[in-house]
Amino acid sequence: MITRRDFIKYSLQGAAAIAIPALTIEILNPSKLFASKDTKKVRWGFLVDTQKCVGCGFCVRACKLENEVPYDANVSRTWVERYVVTKDGRVLTDSPKAARDGFTRNDPAGINIKKGDIEKAFFVPKLCNQCENPPCVQVCPVGATYQASDGVVLVDRKWCIGCGYCIMACPYGVRFFHPVYRTAEKCNFCYHRITKGMKTACVQACPFGARLIGNISDPNDEVGRIIRTERVTVLKDEYGTKPQVYYRGLSKEVR
C-alpha cells in the first residue's frame, strides 16, 4: 500500500528525472559540434590602400554617426593612424580623436617635423579584422560574441555580460566598451548595410577609394581579385588569426 506522501514524492522524483536530460541535452550536441564549415557562400573581406588614404577622417566621422558611437567619446570602431618616419630613423605615430576631424597639421605626436626631415609619411586606416579564427570569440564565456556564417564577428548586446575578456584577447585592440550600452563594442563591417547590398559607411564616405569591401568568395568580386592577384598583407600575421582586412602598400613600421 503506497501512502499519499510517498506517491507525491516518487512522482516529483520521476518528473525531475525525466526533465533534467531533456533540458540539459542541448548543452552538448555532437552533431552540432561537427557542423560543416564549408557551407558559407558569402565571406566579407576588406581592402585598405595606405597610399590612397589622405587622412581626411571622413570615414571615422561617418562610422561614428552611422553606428551611434558617441561622437565626442574617445572610442571608435575605426580610426586612422598617421606614421611619420624621419631621416634619422624615428617613427612618430598618432591618431588624435581616432582622426575623426582629419589631420590638418604636420605635428605627429605633437612634434613639429620639418619637411626636409621626413623620410616617409602615410596614413593607415584600421578597423576590426573580422579574423577567420577570432580570439575574441574563443574566449567569450557566454557566447555573446560570435562569428556569423559570412565571417563577420558580431556582439550580442543582450547577451554580453561586460567581462571585457574579449577586449583583452584581441591582438589588434579594436574592441572597447560602448559608453552607453556598457557592452563590448567593435566594428561589424556595418552588418546592417552589407546584408542589404550597401557598402559600409566608411567605404561610402571615403572620397579616395582607400577603403573597399566585398564578398571575397565571389570570383568576380573586385576585392577578392586584388587579394588573390596582387601583393597584399595583413596585420600581425604571426598570430594565426587570419585577418580578413587586407592592406596594400603596408610599411614595416605598421604593427
Partner: protein, 158 residues
C-alpha cells in the same frame, strides 16, 4: 539506506536540477551552435537579425540626386564629385521627413581635412591641391571665396 551522509548529496543534486530547469526557461530556444562549430558559432541566432535591422543613416549621394538634381549635376562636374553629399551635410536618415532639413558644415576645418598641405611623400595627400592654413587667409572661412560645389575659382573643370 537513510543516511545523514547522503542527505547533503540529495540537496546538491536538487540545487543542480533546479539550476538546470531554470536555465531551460531562461536560455532562448535559438541559442545554440551554428555553422562554424562550437568554438566560433555558439550564440543566439536571432541576434543576427537584430543587427540587420539596425537603422541605416547614410544614404549616399544617389539618394540625393533625384530631388536636388541641380546641385548634384553641378558638383558632378567638379573635382568634388568624389565627395559624398553626407560628408558635409550630415546623414540623410529619412530626410525629408526626419530630419526635415540637413545641416551644412561650412567650417574651415572641414576643408582643411584634405586641403591643409602636409608634405607626406608616400601618401596621396601630397598630391592634393593644398594651402598652408597659417598663411592662406587664416581668419576667414574657405566658403567666403570658394563655392564647395564649384571649388575652382576659375569655374568648372575642363
Amino acid at each position: 539506506m537513510k543516511s545523514h551522509v547522503l542527505r547533503p548529496l540529495y540537496v546538491v543534486i536538487g540545487i543542480i536540477a533546479l539550476v538546470l530547469i531554470i536555465r531551460g526557461f531562461i536560455v532562448p530556444k535559438d541559442f545554440g551552435v551554428y555553422d562554424r562549430g562550437y568554438m566560433y558559432s555558439w550564440y543566439r541566432k536571432s541576434n543576427e537579425d537584430e543587427w540587420k535591422a539596425f537603422k541605416v543613416k547614410h544614404r549616399s549621394s544617389e539618394y540625393c540626386k533625384d530631388c536636388h538634381t541641380d546641385k548634384y549635376s553641378s558638383i558632378m562636374q567638379t573635382p568634388h564629385a568624389i565627395i559624398q553629399c553626407e560628408n558635409c551635410h550630415d546623414p540623410a536618415i529619412d530626410h525629408p521627413e526626419n530630419p526635415p532639413k540637413l545641416s551644412i558644415n561650412k567650417s574651415r576645418e572641414q576643408c582643411l581635412r584634405c586641403h591643409s598641405y602636409l608634405p607626406y611623400p608616400t601618401s596621396n595627400r601630397a598630391n592634393i591641391k593644398a594651402i598652408d592654413p597659417d598663411n592662406h587667409n587664416p581668419d576667414i572661412e574657405c566658403v567666403m571665396c570658394h563655392n564647395p560645389h564649384k571649388p575652382s575659382l576659375e569655374g568648372f573643370k575642363k
